[in-house]
Symmetry: C2
Subunit: 178 residues, 2 copies
């Protein structure tokens, strides 16, 4: 994807730099190394009176499928702030964060998905620009076959299992390719 | 930092794109948006017979100060794999990962530090190219005043507190600027 140096505009070559364990695009002119690192996607399992807040995606990938409010963490914020911001942007809801709940590495797409647990401060929600609709779902009405991502399915499965036990843990796992 | 488009080499302008909540460098010619996101630094609190593995840094920042084995997560790996790789690269040690232990947001430098708990499989270690020396420290001999980063201090404080209680939790916090 990187073909030109973003410092000087010259061409780059994908190669190893002494001391680095992974290859990177290095500028042929100024030597700048364009490191590329996994991105954090941060979201939240948001409850209101035993129901879970879900958003139906208005954008690709997985347009039309249901997801937890979540998105790419941005510079200048904490992980908790990212979860609060995404919940507000995508679902128009104010959430109070309880604790981190699940961290899922998805190595083949260079992402780490981090989900918090939280509660809505009021029963107000509204679809943001990236959502077709937003709704609260009882646990026995979750649209499992219409969930957008495996990480969302996995997170919700663990969430209801923990809720049934009455003790929430912190779950770490990964999703392999395929 | 980004002055040229890495897709086409043209100039960029820092501006808002419709639908995005943060400004980014957008190419004046091809319109490519150069998103910049926080990076994950992943490391490990590694034990061998009640002692903790520390590395003295051979590189800036904080050259000469002591740290836990840790470094930037790379594309194509899971968070646990990153912790194992960094422990091997910086300390020449093989670690068996137990569980995630601490996640620390440092918003002003656009980083999230994630530390695992783990145990050495054998008492072998050796300084890697980014370490001046590597050693095992008893809890009462940790060089607290010579630790490289606040996240390392914070992680070790929580670690010994949990160890004294006999129960390890998962700790999430953030470090403000200043």
């Amino acid at each position: 994807m990187i073909q030109y140096c973003n410092h000087c505009g010259a061409g780059v070559t994908f190669q190893f730099h002494p001391g680095d364990s992974a290859a990177a695009n290095i500028c042929d002119a100024c030597g700048h190394i364009h490191y590329e690192n996994p991105r954090l996607v941060v979201g939240c399992v948001v409850e209101w009176e035993d129901r879970i807040l879900l958003c139906r995606r208005a954008i690709e990938p997985r347009l039309g499928f249901w997801t937890l409010p979540a998105g790419f963490m941005e510079n200048g914020e904490t992980t908790a702030q990212a979860a609060i911001r995404e919940t507000h942007e995508e679902a128009g809801a104010r959430v109070q964060i309880d604790a981190p709940f699940a961290m899922i590495s998805i190595a083949h797409i260079n992402q780490v998905h981090l989900f918090y647990r939280g509660r809505m401060s009021s029963p107000h929600f509204a679809a943001g620009v990236e959502s077709l609709e937003v709704d609260l779902y009882h646990p026995d009405q979750i649209p499992w076959r219409e969930l957008a991502f495996r990480s969302v399915t996995l997170c919700l499965e663990r969430y209801f299992a923990d809720r049934a036990k009455g003790v929430f843990g912190f779950h770490e796992t990964d999703i392999p390719a395929g």
